[in-house]
Symmetry: C2
Subunit: 419 residues, 2 copies
């Protein structure tokens, strides 16, 4: 038995994947775990949603001498001499860190890094399933911007990309900006740019369906957080007619004295017609409503929008304007929900964006790469456009390859590709 | 095509796993990559050695609504209320961070975090293959003790254990000690304790083979780095007769004025007979030689050791005493090499140690758990002991379950188990 026999399959059973039970726990509160065991959600989450798998054989001493010592030393030495070889001979080229501090998790808010882990695991498995990108959940126990930036810079060497997730505004803007300066790998805050890319794709197709172009449209965004700011930027970059952003105090405009730095910057390129006052008043005559907030919009305000308007009410689970109401006034209606047509779902963007950027070893993700992603995503359903189909299904297998190819081409065109 | 069809297999081909080639690279130096492509080691390392795999289905909207939004929010909320549930419903209970700063990688020294990645990936796949433990390589771009400790504390929430690797002495001692204080998960510097556990197991069996007990033995360790210090500690903890440690300047003893803090501490529990002077002089009459250094020991010094002595010369690839020489004087000879009998290989310890500790959700790894691991490891070959077999093969499938069970039992006995 002590010879060089082939090893058996991994002994996964060494670590039990089960809930604490009263019988084998010192924790008297363990008994009420039974409640969690009963629902399909908790049953599915037992033991987590992911694992590591080796992609090389480890059957005998010969395998070990290649994958580990002494052979591995040759690879280490080569990388020490030529760092770019790490992309060829480690998993760096295809692994992303999904990084959060747990301050803005789903609609739950600041629940902390540990409680954010199920979302980050979910994100990681979506990366793999939809983009073939390996992803590792990293939940950081710090919230200071300096601490977040330094920590992420320090852990970056083993990763080929950084997907920031569920970090609250306005810290998320500075964290991303500083990481983009410090790192030579793609850094992408999905709550901003993933949402913006998918929304832009939907809006392009909605404009086409209603016989217009982006330049014909005046949009109003409800919500000036991570998603709202990023959507405003990408719409302006894509050539929208005008866009105004409203926060809980009304339209963001330069006359307001209460604006954060990020909102002051918004004034430079949004709201060219100089709207002020409430969100509701801004909707009068608007062509597009984009909801990325938790607030509700009264039907009376929806009724004042332009004929043939477009409504993307993406709050979850309760859209700012319920689709049944929106349909009474709008030519195209989108939501963030899977049980209505036109779901604006980030999974349509981030797997392909990272796959495309990493396939050419891009040093960053440029605005042009995001715009290319949106165009490619919109084009997937170009031949089947209708008011009920302005965006592909998350399960459409054409999506990730199309987005990936477009992002890779845009990276080459932008001069940030290294392959 | 845009309906809720089942997704195809992960589109892994989106990110090419290949070397830079002159044809598609702007890097003129890429042409000499051809050299790397030719050896089996580089061919095996192409694209790295590991990947992420989902352990839950993601076929349709129903799956997505359980594994991701909206279902996942229930799990997040439950963990926010009761943090210990993270062990039940995320991968935390079975995932270890393999953390290095790249300062003491194999025998290569300070090659930096990126060049260390192939070793960390190798370690990660060994964790999985031999212990069923998922492991993620984390290569940190900082070397200051404070920075390392803070960074590791911050990234700890998503992990169930921290395996420190290839961090140079003496910083490794302080990093580990401070992390053990700050974190409630196992922290284990494998270069210290993995080596110490396996060596102790080998020495126990070697003593038995030669008709002695540990208490009968006087040992000399060559090397006062991470492994040497840890071996000294575990041997004293296990009840060895006496042990002296020698660094490049000779035996560590309290009369020396050049001792670091760690070596001063060694004086408190080693070298009870008050040896001083050279390693060679200390070997006169010694029962055990333990080599964890790069130096060579002259045959004339080996010849002065006690009859029936035990030699474990673990320097790689060149043992401090070549086995052919050692066998002339010693009753039992061990090395770190796979091509001689009695290979002292850390893979005999770390997978089972972490699997055992994590299987009972231990908050730390105690000295008693390490001693239990060594005893269990030694016991695996108790019925087949011989001078050529004092330690199991790394591929012996009995090893990890035996070590894991012993470590789990010791954790319960020590009161650090939480399951």
């Amino acid at each position: 038995m002590s010879g060089d026999s082939m090893t058996t399959a991994p002994t996964l059973s060494l670590i039990p994947q089960r809930a604490l039970s009263a019988a084998d726990s010192l924790d008297p509160s363990a008994m009420d775990n039974a409640a969690h065991q009963e629902t399909p959600v908790f049953a599915l989450h037992r033991g987590g949603k992911m694992e590591i798998a080796a992609t090389v054989p480890l059957r005998d001493r010969a395998d070990l001498s290649l994958a580990y010592t002494p052979g591995v030393a040759e690879v280490c030495t080569a990388i020490a001499e030529r760092p770019e070889l790490a992309r060829d001979y480690t998993w760096k080229s295809h692994v992303v860190a999904v990084v959060t501090d747990g301050t803005a998790v789903l609609g739950l808010g600041d629940i902390g890094p540990l409680a954010a882990l199920p979302v980050m695991e979910g994100k990681a498995v979506l990366f793999k399933q939809f983009g073939g990108v390996d992803a590792v959940p990293i939940c950081l126990d710090c919230t200071d911007v300096d601490d977040l930036v330094e920590t992420i810079v320090r852990l970056a060497p083993a990763f080929g990309g950084i997907n920031l997730e569920d970090i609250s505004a306005p810290r998320c803007f500075e964290v991303e900006a500083r990481l983009r300066e410090r790192l030579d790998i793609p850094v992408f805050h999905d709550d901003q740019h993933g949402t913006a890319i998918v929304l832009l794709a939907a809006l392009r197709n909605a404009a086409t369906v209603t016989g217009r172009t982006l330049g014909d449209l005046r949009a109003v965004i409800s919500g000036a957080g991570a998603a709202g700011v990023a959507i405003a930027k990408i719409l302006v970059g894509a050539g929208i007619g005008d866009v105004a952003v409203a926060d809980s105090r009304g339209v963001v405009e330069s006359g307001r004295a209460d604006l954060t730095e990020v909102k002051q910057e918004l004034c430079l390129f949004t709201n060219r017609t100089g709207l002020s006052g409430s969100l509701e008043s801004a909707l009068a005559g608007a062509d597009v409503f984009i909801g990325v907030s938790a607030g509700q919009v009264p039907e009376s305000a929806v009724a004042t929008m332009a004929p043939g308007c477009i409504i993307a009410a993406m709050a979850n689970p309760n859209p700012e304007i319920h689709p049944d109401v929106a349909r009474k006034y709008a030519a195209v209606v989108a939501t963030g929900r899977s049980d209505f047509p036109n779901q604006v779902n980030n999974v349509l963007a981030f797997p392909g964006v990272f796959a495309g950027a990493m396939s050419v070893r891009a040093s960053t993700i440029t605005e042009s790469m995001k715009l290319a992603a949106a165009e490619a995503l919109a084009a997937v359903v170009a031949d089947e456009l209708s008011p009920e189909c302005v965006i592909p299904s998350p399960f459409d297998p054409r999506v990730a390859p199309a987005v990936s190819a477009a992002v890779a081409a845009a990276a080459r065109a932008a001069g940030v590709a290294r392959l």
